[in-house]
């Protein structure tokens, strides 16, 4: 974990260092992009139980709730990991980390969306 910081400090600090406003802009833009999978997760967590109740008058079992909550937490958890991994790195490395994280969130949510087809959600 300490190695990249060493690399950063070994380089001349001035011209290679991204300005603070650029770092913040990148972080905020990606934070906005991460809100979509968060919104989808919340929508599923609210919508699935309602749909199941309207169609079958049944509830969601604990395993189902665990998956729905995981769907809500995936985007903020991955974004938090990206923030930690991007500390003391250059701006390009941060962009790469945020972009890869966004792709990972999409893949994980796609897997969670498929889960009801082989996991019994209904209590």
């Amino acid at each position: 974990m300490a190695q990249p910081a060493d690399v950063e400090t070994a380089e001349p600090a001035g011209p290679r260092r991204a300005p603070v406003w650029l770092s913040w802009t990148v972080t905020i833009v990606f934070a906005v992009l991460y809100t979509y999978p968060l919104w989808v997760g919340i929508g599923n967590a609210v919508g699935y139980p309602q749909t199941i109740w309207e169609h079958y008058h049944l509830g969601i079992n604990p395993g189902g709730w665990a998956l729905l909550v995981a769907g809500v937490l995936t985007a903020p958890a991955v974004f938090g990991c990206c923030l930690l991994l991007g500390r003391s790195r250059g701006i390009l490395a941060r962009v790469l980390i945020y972009a890869a994280g966004l792709c990972v969130v999409s893949a994980v949510l796609a897997s969670l969306t498929i889960a009801p087809s082989f996991v019994n959600f209904i209590a």
């Binding site: 190695q3 990249p4 060493d6 690399v7 979509y36 999978p37 989808v40 991994l85 790195r89 490395a93 790469l96 980390i97 972009a99 890869a100 966004l102 792709c103 990972v104 969130v105 999409s106 893949a107 994980v108 949510l109 796609a110 897997s111 498929i114 889960a115 087809s117 082989f118």
Partner: protein, 136 residues
């Protein structure tokens, strides 16, 4: 006259020719195979390991691509459907993105840390839809 011009065109010229440039090739070759050719810090074994991981991530990418190409349900809302399409594309890109990021960002770390990140990606990005056989 024509024959002379051809001979000149087909010759290598003389070493005293001012346009003559010595090649550095033979000196490099003299260093022997496996010496200076490899990038510093990366052993042959690690290159093989990275190659194996690259193959696995390539298979993951194909599996996610097959998953994304399945006809999904549409909500009727153009914006929702567009965002779903974009999410599918991002899911396909997840495996190569993780592989590139893991290799690029851990270049100065120990080998076991690099392998750990690559194994973590294989676990996280498992294409459940393809593996479970629900999408084909």
């Amino acid at each position: 006259m024509g024959a002379d011009a051809d001979d000149e065109a087909l010759s290598w010229g003389h070493e005293s020719d001012p346009t003559h440039v010595d090649s550095a090739g033979p000196d490099d070759a003299a260093a022997g195979p496996g010496g200076p050719v490899l990038a510093p810090g990366t052993s042959s074994a690690m290159l093989v390991v990275f190659g194996v991981f690259g193959g696995i991530y390539l298979l993951y990418t194909v599996a996610w691509l097959i998953t994304a190409m399945q006809p999904g349900y549409t909500t009727g809302n153009a914006l929702n459907d567009l965002m779903t399409q974009i999410s599918s594309v991002l899911a396909v890109l997840a495996a190569p993105a993780w592989f590139i990021a893991a290799l690029a960002l851990t270049a100065s770390r120990r080998n076991w840390v690099r392998i750990l990140f690559l194994v973590l990606g294989i676990v996280v990005l498992l294409p459940w839809g393809f593996v479970s056989g629900r999408i084909w």
